[in-house]
Every structure is written in structure tokens, then in C-alpha cells.
Subunit: 251 residues, 2 copies
DNA sequence: TATTGTTTCCGTATGGCCTACGGAAATGGG
DNA sequence: CCCATTTCCGTAGGCCATACGGAAACAATA
């Protein structure tokens, strides 16, 4: 399945839901069996356990012992529900502003990474038209504040923000992608690569790929670490170097 | 829809397809109406025009005027077909090794970005268990060769490789995500943000978001550029700073 | 030409998805 | 008790991937 798109519906309705601005309470009429909060929590639970692909309206309704169509009374549709789920988990970051600007950005990266680890389906959510809720906005403010404190010019802050945000979400996505594949396919990454041993035997061409061959012979790939560890250190290194570059560019 | 997973089938069969190692020609039996190449080309055409979500086996078969199940004679399943599509478009990069190591990495980034622009559905393909075909391998060799020429130690080359590859694919994905949303939803990004004007009026809290307020007042967001241009310059800036950092880290 | 072995083609069937529609059921006030 | 209001939810339509197995096409042989 391709990436889930959200944020397509009526902005006024969706924003009111994201910020939980309640419609004035209804004095009459049938009592609701479920609330928006319950639906969001149940949907997150299903997606955490079985992936976003399994998070169908029917499945969430089942989780709540309610008919499928009842959900549509409280939530406009599936896209908006994903918006609500996304902002809810972003709020879990609970960012604490302390330390140098670099430390705060690393804190942001760590907390964001933790969200992705806890909710791997975040990998499948597009963030180019994000839910404009408190979870997203608080994160943006946090990163912008750190970058502003670094001494960058205002215009540079906004440019650097795009770069940092892109790197963090991209890195978190890739890491989680790996972990999620292990769960959904039931095959570990190491096993997957092992099953493709035949590639190196039958298809790898030493003449065509001299650099890879050299690196192999230099033992650059002979580590005790797992695939996941390699990705993690690659991204840690990348963020460090990106911040080095940003810092160095100011002089 | 969530991200498409591929590479799940029999590795031997999939590798033979990726490298077009033909089974020995069949002298007898019914003549095939379609070839693997035709199927891949048709699938890419459908995905280019209508997105990966619309690229169903039935839709591809229709494109070729063939029954749906006929495809399964030539391709094990949908996952493997996506592998073949992916490697095919990666081959379009046609990388030319010239210039300094930095210039070559930027060349790689540009060519990869061009592939994503031409085939926006690449955003929806997971690259953590990539198709081990010529398109992918040539790209890896190219980046590794550039990094090795930069003077990094072998072990550092492999770490930096993860960071660069992650950044480039992440950046290309985000850019294309934006473009693809414009096509599939029929609403431009500028229009989408415009429709959320109400957010700034009804929900934005100046006290809660002082940095954003300051940046706004400093005219940091008052540019003539589009969303897409902003993303592009953010990622160009980020790659530049990342390479600065890698270069600086060697001294 | 008729037969046989081999390969490809493809119709059917299963179980899932989202959500428009509209009637049934519950609730509080008069 | 009645009725306006609100929520609940069954049905129905049109998509998806692919297992299975028989029909059809083709080359070599008799």
C-alpha cells in the first residue's frame, strides 16, 4: 500500500477536532457510546499492534464494540482520523527546553525517534501537509527556538529548519521501517540479507564494483553490529555533521 | 494506504529477474503475449500517471490488453513487480563520475531527485530492503567511490554512506510527496495552506509560539517563493552543510 | 495429419476495504 | 405520552491480490 494521505476534509471541522474545541454540549438526544478520544486511542492501539494497513474503520469499531458506521458520527473519515492519531503521538514527545541549542536539537531528534519507535506506523504518514495541531506546532516552535538561539539570521533559521526537520523525520522513518518489516514479515533483517547471500556469489561483479570490493577487503563491513545499529550510528553521525555544518557556516 | 513492501519472495527467482538472466529459451509451447519488460514498462506508466495506489495487477493487465492472471506467469507477484519497477527507474540516473568528490555527490543527489520527480511513486517504496539490481548497486558504488576519494577511513565511509543516502532519499521523497499530493488531490499546496488561513486566526497562540511570531514579524516567511521552492532550498542547504561537516570532520 | 508434451492464458471465487444512504433506537423536555 | 434531536448501524456498491485448474496455442514426433 502507498502512503496514507490525510488532511483532505473540511479544515474548520478538522482543526476543531485537533484542538478539541468541543461543540456546545447537546442537552437532548441519544447519549453517545464512544468519544473522539476513545476512537483515537483505539485506532492508535490497532495501528501499533497490527500496522496502519490493518487500521480500518471496521477494525477500530470492532475494538470499541460498536458498529462501523458509528465512528462517522464523531470523525469525518479515515483521513481525519489519521490526522488526529498523528498529532496525538507527536504530543507524546513532551519536549523540555534545556541546554545549548545543539543539545536541544538532539533532544528533539531523540524524542521524535522515540515516537516513531513506539508508533511505527508513523513511517506511513505523509508530513508535507501535516495536521496543524498542538503536537506538531509545539515541535516546530521547539526546533525554531533552538535554531534562533544558535545565532542564525531569521531567513536562515527557516531554511535550516526544513533541513533539520527533513533529516530527523527521514532518519526516524528509515529506522522504524526496518523494525516494522521485521514484525510484519516475521523475518529479521539479518535473515533477509542472509537469504540473499546468493547475490554475492552469483551476481556481484568485482570489476564493476571496485570500491565495494575494496571496502569489503578492508573489513569495513566486518562488524559485530546489526543492521539496525548501523542505521542508528549512520544517522547519529549525519545529524552531528549537519549541525557542525550549520554551526560552521555562521563564521 | 501504507508503504509498499517488496522483496518478499524467493530471492533466487527475484534476482534472476532483476538482472534479466533469462531462463533458457523455451523451444516448445504457446508463445507469450507479453514479456517481463513490457509488464514493467506498463506498470511504471500506470504508476507515473495514477500513483502506486492505482497500480493494481488488473490495471496493468488492462493496459496490456491481457487477462489479469496472465501476469503471474511472468512475475511472481505484485511485490516483485515493484522491485523490478524500482530498479528500472534507478537505472535512469545514468551517473557520470566527474569532478571533485563533493561535486559527484551533488550529481548523485540531483540525478536521484530527478528520478523521484519523474516517478513520484518512488516516495511510496521502502528502501530498507532494496532490490539488489543494477540500478541500486551502481548508485551505491558511485556514492561509496566519491566518499572513499574524500579521504575518509574505510569504516567512516560506510557510516557516512548511510547518512548521505538517507538524506538524499528523504529529501527527494518529501519534495515529491508535495508534488504528488497536488496531482492526486487536485489541490495545490499553496491553496491547501490558504484554506487553513483560519488556523492562524482562530488557533494560533502568540504567547505559546513566540519564536514563530518573531520570525513572522521579521518577515522571514514573507517570500515570493512557493512551498516547493522552499523545500528545495532547504534540502540544498542541508546537503551542503552535511558535506561541510563530513569534510570538516577529517581535519 | 493426428497425437503428445509443454507452456501460456485467464475465468472464477474468496475475503477484505471505505463510506453514502436512510431508517431504527435512545433521550430529555413539554 | 409525544416529539424534536441525536446517535447508532445494516445494507450495498465497487475496488483489491491471488490460488486453482481447465482451455488454448505451439513444436516435435509418429
Amino acid at each position: 500500500m502507498a502512503t496514507e494521505r490525510s488532511g483532505g476534509g473540511d479544515p474548520v471541522r478538522t482543526l476543531a477536532l485537533l484542538w478539541r474545541r468541543p461543540a456546545e454540549p447537546k442537552p437532548v438526544g441519544r447519549k453517545p457510546k464512544v468519544s473522539v478520544d476513545q476512537i483515537v486511542v483505539a485506532a492508535i492501539a490497532v495501528a501499533d499492534r497490527e500496522g496502519l494497513g490493518a487500521m480500518s474503520m471496521a477494525r477500530v469499531a470492532q475494538e470499541l464494540s460498536v458498529g462501523t458506521m458509528s465512528l462517522y458520527t464523531h470523525v469525518p473519515g479515515k483521513g481525519e482520523l489519521i490526522d488526529l492519531m498523528t498529532d496525538a503521538v507527536l504530543q507524546e514527545r513532551d519536549l523540555t527546553p534545556a541546554g545549548t541549542w545543539r543539545e536541544r536539537i538532539k533532544h528533539y531528534a531523540d524524542r521524535t525517534r522515540a515516537v516513531y519507535q513506539a508508533h511505527p506506523w508513523m513511517r506511513d504518514v505523509s508530513m508535507v501537509r501535516p495536521p496543524l495541531g498542538p503536537g506538531l506546532m509545539d515541535g516546530q516552535e521547539f526546533v525554531l527556538a533552538a535554531l534562533a538561539d544558535s545565532g542564525l539570521e531569521p531567513k536562515q533559521v527557516t531554511v535550516a529548519h526544513v533541513a533539520v526537520e527533513g533529516f530527523v523525520h527521514g532518519a526516524a522513518s528509515s529506522e522504524v521501517d526496518d523494525r516494522q518489516l521485521e514484525e510484519t514479515t516475521g523475518e529479521s533483517s539479518d535473515s533477509w540479507w542472509g537469504a540473499r547471500q546468493v547475490f554475492w556469489e552469483d551476481y556481484f561483479d568485482v570489476e564493476r564494483y571496485p570500491t565495494m570490493t575494496n571496502l569489503w577487503n578492508a573489513n569495513a563491513y566486518h562488524t559485530e553490529t546489526t543492521i539496525a545499529d548501523n542505521m542508528r550510528s549512520g544517522f547519529d553521525y549525519g545529524l552531528e555533521k549537519l549541525l557542525d555544518g550549520i554551526e560552521g557556516g555562521m563564521r
